[in-house]
Symmetry: D2
Subunit: 466 residues, 4 copies
């Protein structure tokens, strides 16, 4: 993509078809443009392989030391920006080996003993995905910490709880935020499980069949902090489950982010006005200074599309491929890199937005002051105090709501007499359950919205974050 | 769908637009056509809820007993086929409660105390998905058992190992089959992890905010064999992660199945002729009796599309939904039921095909007799015995292969003298590594293709299956 | 699915693995459960084929007449519900032929001369999709008619035009609805183009290679109202582009529906309160009679997931299939039928909702009374009247908005003196552009929101609908 | 992505969370990294807008000329590589305007009169997609030309026609290639239709409501070679149908490419050996010189995943977005650019491979010499000559095939007497239909595989290409 961006669309497209087969082949085949970000993993893997070859006397200590030193130099050059990439050398693996040969000479040729590009690339990519998982776990932890802090601060703030985007029952804003804590907890659990599953080392599977050299795969696995070597060499080079699983976790997590982002967009609208984002996460308009477009939230909502697309893409690539390695699998990386990038961005942006938001308490609470939002509390009182079957309590409540609607008041605007006209056994005590404050306070069941419950959940969450 | 199938396309489509709004609303809104398969889970959940209400003295023992007995009767009627469904009653939950009311009268109205349809449906659906996970685990176990048995029997059978569908190195068929054992092991691991994550009970979250009744959610969770109750009531009713995770596991597993299915189609072709399927899993043609179309394998390959589609579908549905429950989420069930059905079918069919296949050993091994398939062994010998750097060994091997190609023979058709013309230090010993038998026998690295390794892996696999 | 629905989940899953291979094969292979809805297309195609065979003297007039009469009888039996389906007979094609044989005897065997199931199923499915396209065109036309009528009625009703869900500029509700008219116009155009492309008859391609019988494919094409026969027999039996294109059109159209559905959900919320849906398209709650959950809109929003899933599913199925027919392609039908069904439902439901909605004019217009929504009009005035460059006009406007914000008024609450303090050349004339009424009235550019433009667009739309 | 590629994975991830909100916002919000490829379209659109403003006397001729000259200079600087990009300026539109201001001063501020970034970006993106469509049409035309030339050359070459990857009936290779000609013809038709639909100019819709300036949208549309201006300003800025339609066309076309790619992979295998690709489109292995890995074909097969992913991604992004513009829509570009790039690559690579391939005629034809591949011809002969009903002819043929199978010969290895033992009326004439040559020659029905038909189809195709 890089080179094309510098050309006009016409020369881009036109150029493509003017070039000869060799150029087309190079364009479709070379992966160095995107797999160069694997350099650190590639060198780390090669060093572990080298140390094992030395330990097993497959290569000499002298050759081995040269290789190790040379690889460090290659890494330093890359990190210093003094490294030349060339599509002719196809991928990062060939770039590293080629430069190593320039530096240390023929001994470099011993590094590839008892391995192949197939197990090498599987190892590098696994190491990268494992790193990404670790970083995403940290990012999600930061998001959770921010959510819990905000929840604690808003444990008493009441807003309408919605179903179907219609007011249903009052809830606390702290409780609402903790719902997302639960989602991100499951996401982190999924990452942890997937990491454990990924954590078997493919190096030593060689091209596809294993090797006749007396290698010690457990040594390499240990060096690279894998739990153990993979158990089947064909599977080792043809497996991309770890990327698929990472992408599916990212996709599920991104749906959570998209839901929270949708809420932020809604809450920021003039019509809801539940929160305000600062300039940090909004863009303005040069004429309408009151306008704070919640761009970051909208982009967080949108990027779920990109991540679902990446997951979908890799599932399609893997469909129907015979064993062992097929070149199709080179399409695994860009999808994964791009999705990981989007994943990291939305978690970071969401963490920032949650931290940044100003909660308009008054506006939230004002929104609960209509819509007979405590009707369920009334019904529950009828059941609890008058021992009505719930279905009949519903019916009585419905009648009372209709009465209030006619009268143009909320439920607590009815007189006791009016209520008794519908159900003679109702007593003055009923009014104690009709305020939104008493409603939320009463929902003390485990996981309920009562402020005390919320504070208890906050405490538990603070522990669970670790 | 059911009713439409009986009509012509014209009346189907035309009819739809002739009907009034009420009918359209009923068609788009009612879920009884598909959610009736949840009846067992619904009744199980209601009974657990009822027992808890009794234990907490929220309803009387007498009412409770009536409810429990009544629910058993409803279940019996459904299973006996004596149950009338009616789209007016929308869903299975209303059907069960409505019938219970007919049977036991007003006490039925007490069952819905301290719960709502939102937490009820979440519970029912979780129970169903949990059952599906358990059954898929069993199904995969059966497939693994079949694969391992076949692998054991074919631990010595040699065929070409492919990369890019080009012969690369000889492998054993047992080894090839065990690669799939590894994949299905990861699938089962994923199911187990997902099951653990799913296993929190949403019942008691009520509509979205919890309840003021003194319920004991731990008791219900225990009764339904959930690990514990969910920690946030808003999350409880708006979470469908468990279905998304089940679908993503199914999708990844289905890519494995599609790969094996692709191989079965290839292997069954006249051009490969590696295996034969019997009539059991093929269809014939009334004119070409030799034709055994591998229909079951093709359908196994195709159904990955359906399962990916279902995953994709539910991810899209969940995108951007504000909390808590939205009616959009009713679209969770058909996707999940359909994918679970396809998942079960392909695992069962694949198990049958693996068991059924006849292995054409001669044809497999004959396929290894060209293509210089032991060239890697020659290169490895040069490294191991002559201590060449691998990259130079590659070069020497390439020259020898070109020589053999010119001479029209395989590598072991060259004379020692011819070889020494290229590399003087080569000795007679080199011929010991040039047969496919010695090649596979030499790949004894952990996870390698050597028959002894394969047999060791079979042993390990038999243990790991449990 | 049907039979499973009657069993418990346990017996469903357990049962599947207890059965023998024959049963698994039948379950995975038979398509009669879903392809029976093709019966009318199948019989129509067979009659056309038969008439051609008669015309070409490939079969005798006598045999032909028997076949035609017999097929009519089969159709009548199916439509009367007197037809027995049996998974042993696999699909609708075999069901029809088998019953025809029972009715007319050996002559039935002549019907299959010069055709195969491959071209037959392609023809039947094309006919079905073509019918579906025609019906969807009618459905979209009805939706457009409803939108245009509503737009005409609301050509003067002003509401905030949103970008980023933030008030941007006032627009008319009629104008807003007409945006959807444009989208559905493109959808109908797509359907028309796709129909033209589909409209080539595959019958006569036989199994894959054509036939040696002297058939007249143009005659059959004409009889079935296809534009012409397909030009390549291999393509004829392996092409499913028409289904993919139908699904992609449905998916794009469903995104339009999802956007309108999202708006209906928003507009129905207490916070927006722009419209009210009646009971016809909402569901209530037994306790909160004020609650009108916009279920139909939510389901319309959700079903885009299902349709995208179906498109995705069939793309995956078709990926990488070698020519000509593979059994994988049997997966084309359920995805298409299900998506077509969802497509029809959402268009019908949306038509009903648009027709049904009550527009809360006052509430819409009240929502425009803050947010400096006419700031762009002020800037445009500065450019037009004072000849400022637009970028400077923006800056001046920004200063005036900040002034108004400080003063706690809207732009027309500033005095001329206050304005002149910022920009001395401003005159009294500026106040003529600061009301929402003058703002919308001024947007007379082609396609703009001015009521007169809207009425002109309504007129044009009424013509374009045809 | 660009900057990240230069850092280690650790600093990439770690860095992201160390940065402050401003940096996160910039990273998620800025689009200049990818939308800079729109520069030519952006400048073209601005010039057209400027000319119209001049023509309508909205800006002076002098200002207009300065703007036009300045824009040409900006374009020249970009194309010369002398242009500095800065994420602070967000996107290409601001970059161009900002540089224009530097060059010509305040007059630059008049360019944005009567337009907004919303209609500007819609216009630019449409122009880009229209260019991409035009280029893809040319690319597909080149592929068709190559296919037709290859088909003409191979009109007589016989290979097995497959269904279910099992030999079914002999076909000609020219005929097989022409099947793909048909698919790509439909793809080009779809592009043409989509181009026509896209071809309405959004410029003048302004932010969302139109404008009060006396613009002439027809003039601008004409200048930019659009058919006419869009009819609704809200739709103009919120529509991305043209990108979705382009992506769906690309996805369908990519399934065609994936099928041909799969066949090339199969045909190149040692087991099929139907074709050979040269070094140009394969990669070798340093040890196995015989190995020609069909990498380009595998990548062509895989990239359908990427394109389906992009389509899926944008459908998800658009789902449920309220009107008019939302920032989510910024996610439209990368998906489209990436898919267009992949689309162009696979068409070019496929064109090269078709041109490059060596057809192994002998190997193809040898593959037809078993499998009773002319059994259908025998059955047809029984129908045609003996007037048997087809179903009985099938049965007789089946018996004869079984006889030949027992005898170990193909059908033409049976004696007339042996045949007459099954069906006495068979005559010597039957042997004329049992060779593969006579079989293909007989399939003269329109679109059939007979060489003469193929040549006629080639002629027709050559005309249809234009």
């Amino acid at each position: 993509m890089a080179s094309e961006e510098k050309t006009t669309a016409n020369s881009l497209w036109g150029g493509r078809f003017a070039v000869g087969p060799a150029e087309i082949m190079e364009k479709i085949n070379a992966s160095i443009d995107f797999d160069k970000i694997l350099y650190a993993q590639d060198i780390r893997g090669s060093k572990a392989h080298c140390r094992m070859l030395m330990a097993q006397n497959i290569i000499s200590a002298k050759d081995g030391e040269q290789i190790l030193t040379g690889l460090d130099q290659v890494k330093a050059e890359i990190e210093a920006g003094n490294f030349t990439y060339d599509a002719k050398l196809e991928d990062i693996h060939m770039h590293v080996e080629s430069r190593l040969t320039e530096i240390i000479g023929e001994a470099a040729g011993r590094l590839h003993t008892a391995r192949s590009r197939n197990d090498q690339v599987a190892t590098d990519f696994k190491l990268w995905v494992r790193d990404a998982m670790d970083q995403m776990d940290l990012a999600l932890k930061a998001l959770q910490t921010t959510l819990v802090a905000k929840a604690e601060k808003n444990a008493d703030v009441i807003l309408p709880g919605f179903t179907h985007l219609q007011s249903a029952q009052p809830v606390t804003f702290g409780h609402h935020l903790l719902a997302y804590f639960e989602m991100f907890t499951r996401d982190r659990d999924r990452l942890r499980d997937a990491r454990g599953r990924l954590n078997e080392c493919p190096l030593g599977a060689a091209a596809l069949a294993g090797t006749s050299f007396p290698i010690d795969r457990f040594l390499v696995a240990d060096d690279l902090k894998f739990r153990k070597p993979t158990a089947n060499s064909l599977d080792s080079v043809s497996d991309r489950d770890f990327a698929l699983e990472f992408l599916s976790i990212a996709a599920i997590c991104a749906t959570h982010v998209s839901r929270l982002a949708e809420e932020i967009v809604l809450w920021s609208s003039a019509q809801f006005n539940f929160i305000a984002l600062s300039d940090k996460f909004t863009t303005g308009s040069s004429i309408m200074p009151q306008k704070r477009n919640p761009d970051a939230a909208e982009l967080c909502r949108a990027k779920v599309g990109r991540i679902i697309g990446a997951l979908n893409s890799l599932l399609v690539v893997m469909k129907g491929l015979p064993l062992a390695y097929s070149k199709d699998m080179q399409e695994d990386k860009e999808a994964t890199f791009d999705a990981a990038n989007a994943f990291a961005l939305i978690i970071a942006a969401m963490t920032g937005m949650i931290d940044d938001m100003t909660v308009n308490e008054d506006s939230m609470t004002a929104s609960t002051q209509n819509g007979f939002i405590t009707a369920t509390d009334l019904a529950d009182w009828l059941v609890r105090v008058l021992n009505m079957p719930f279905r009949r309590a519903h019916h009585v409540t419905g009648t009372l709501v209709a009465l209030a609607e006619d009268k143009g008041c909320d439920l607590d605007g009815l007189t006791l007499a009016e209520m008794q006209g519908v159900e003679p056994e109702i007593t003055q005590d009923v009014f104690t359950v009709l305020t939104v404050e008493s409603s939320v306070a009463s929902r003390t069941s485990f996981g309920g919205t009562a402020p005390d419950q919320v504070r208890a959940q906050v405490k538990a969450a603070q522990k669970r974050i670790e």
